[in-house]
């Protein structure tokens, strides 16, 4: 019974924790501009994140060490440094987007300027990381994030023409003449980057160590990934669908967070709106915690510093200082007046650019018997891993030219 409860809890928090500011914004933008024509990207992205998250979770559970520690040992300092540089910079961009996302969500709840919420949000993230136990932190944020199920409820309440909505999935590349093919592919890469954000893998791997997983916990890890993430992916599609039903016909292209919530308001009124705002706060706050921790994890694991929330802060001082500095940088960037939504949109595209540096090392380690014993990847996993590396590489190479051609999708 206890085991079933643990699996259910893990799956629920995986669903609730799947969405972050990047997913919320990108899916809504895409739904309002392209309908459901890009839903296939979410499906591909979810398969990819499932594949690599279970791989990195398995590496951590079997070897008892986090991915980044092994990457440096196995691939050498130079390769690890490239991985670290890319991941850390993307983490900083993602953290900026998430802290900005918390502030924008709080503005929706209070109508107080987001600039005033930004320092509060950054401080609250630090305080929770400093004081709250890892498992409580992860589970509470994940559970509250489940309120975003309201998007799926809203899709039903809006009573769309299901045939029309479903047929959008098959209309390729885009039925909307006002959007160019380059813009379509730019947003395809953005959606892919949003689904496969690097911090998720580092957090998943390091979280396995925090929670002292062993090979016995692999079944639970797989359930979290293979059930939780796809259900999270369905929520992503529901966000796009709600925008496709309400905003697309009115010619509203989303460029603010409140616009993401309007379809829910139309479908479920004030109560729905309150639930969705709670979901926004939980999703962005939970992701901010994960990204901040990931920043500390990657740097500490690369340099061999003591790390982890299971250690008292005094015994992992540099790990904690890294997280504080990361939060201060993110806050500093936001206080220059940049638009958090634009940062979010750029962060998912830059995530896509950096993906090969994140996922290739994990594939290599997961095939090394020195660390994995007889739990190395099977043939099917390796085949899929290579297919995804090819997709990731194509996306990574195409991202910057498409960004220039389309003016960052504008």
């Amino acid at each position: 019974m206890k085991g079933i409860f643990a699996v259910a809890l893990g799956v629920l928090t995986a669903i609730g924790g799947f969405l972050d500011a990047g997913d919320l914004v990108t899916n809504s933008v895409v739904g309002s501009r392209f309908g459901l024509t890009l839903s296939w990207v979410v499906v591909v992205g979810v398969i990819g994140i499932c594949l690599f998250a279970q791989m990195s979770g398995r590496v951590a559970a079997v070897s008892g060490r986090a991915s980044f520690e092994i990457i440096r040992e196995r691939l050498g300092a130079r390769m690890a440094l490239a991985n670290l540089g890319a991941s850390f910079l993307i983490n900083l961009m993602t953290l900026t987007a998430e802290v900005g996302g918390i502030a924008l969500s709080m503005q929706l709840a209070t109508s107080i300027e987001p600039t005033l919420w930004m320092p509060v949000a950054a401080f609250a993230v630090w305080l929770v990381i400093w004081r709250v136990k890892f498992s409580i932190m992860e589970n509470v944020a994940g559970f509250l994030g489940l309120t975003l199920v309201i998007f799926a409820v809203a899709v039903f309440l809006l009573q769309p023409n299901w045939l029309d909505l479903g047929s959008q999935i098959l209309q390729q590349p885009s039925p909307h003449s006002s959007e160019s093919p380059a813009t379509y592919w730019y947003f395809a890469i953005a959606l892919f980057g949003a689904a496969m954000t690097p911090y998720e893998v580092f957090f998943f791997s390091s979280g396995a160590i925090e929670e002292k997983w062993t090979a016995k916990d692999l079944a639970q890890s797989r359930a979290n990934v293979f059930v939780g993430f796809p259900l999270g992916g369905i929520l992503s599609i529901a966000i796009a669908a709600s925008a496709a039903i309400v905003l697309l016909p009115k010619g509203i292209a989303v460029d603010s967070l409140y616009e993401t919530a309007l379809p829910v308001a139309q479908a479920a009124g004030k109560l729905g709106l309150i639930v969705v705002i709670l979901g926004f706060v939980a999703a962005t706050f939970g992701a901010a915690l994960e990204v901040t921790l990931s920043s500390g994890y990657t740097l500490a694991q690369f340099f061999g510093w003591p790390w982890g929330k299971y250690r008292p802060p005094v015994k992992a001082a540099r790990f904690h200082v890294t997280m504080i500095i990361s939060l201060l940088i993110a806050l500093g960037v936001l206080l220059t007046g940049v638009d958090p939504i634009q940062v979010t949109e750029l962060s998912v595209v830059f995530s896509a650019i950096a993906l090969p540096l994140t996922y290739l090392p994990i594939l290599i380690i997961a095939n090394d018997p020195k660390y994995m014993g007889d739990r190395v990847n099977g043939r099917a996993t390796n085949f899929l891993g290579l297919v995804f590396l090819a997709i990731i590489l194509i996306g990574s190479i195409s991202a910057i030219p498409l960004m220039i051609i389309t003016g960052a999708g504008s």
């Binding site: 503005q107 929706l108 709840a109 209070t110 109508s111 309400v246 905003l247 009115k250 010619g251 509203i252 460029d255 603010s256 409140y258 616009e259 919530a261 309007l262 308001a265 139309q266 009124g269 004030k270 709106l273 309150i274 705002i277």
Partner: protein, 109 residues
């Protein structure tokens, strides 16, 4: 963005939106219209294109004024009924005219 404001005002008429979200929507639209107007005004243009640009600026200003009127009505507690509906319709019309003007400008460019 004017269409977003029109949608938010429509939701307010049906009591489907909280005042904080409506405030946020109107403030966001007002700010973006202001930025858009300033950015358009700084564009150098001559002849027919300059005339098109000036018409767009006038429409953007009109949309901005409408949003400010809605904000003022709400602040004064007069956010119900026909007055708000009229502003919503006005914003919808401005949005349609702006789309047409931008289309023409793109064609001319």
């Amino acid at each position: 963005m004017t269409r977003s404001a029109a949608l938010a005002i429509g939701l307010r008429e049906n009591d489907n939106i909280t005042s904080a979200v409506l405030d946020t929507a109107l403030a966001d639209v007002a700010q973006k219209l202001g930025e858009g107007e300033a950015s358009l005004a700084s564009l150098a243009a001559t002849g027919g294109i300059a005339a098109q640009r000036d018409r767009i600026i006038a429409e953007v200003r009109s949309a901005g004024n409408t949003v400010h009127r809605v904000q003022a009505s709400l602040a004064a507690g007069r956010g119900d009924g026909d007055a708000l509906d009229a502003q919503r319709i006005r914003l919808g019309r401005v949005a349609a005219r702006l789309e047409k003007l931008f289309g023409k400008l793109e064609g001319a460019g």
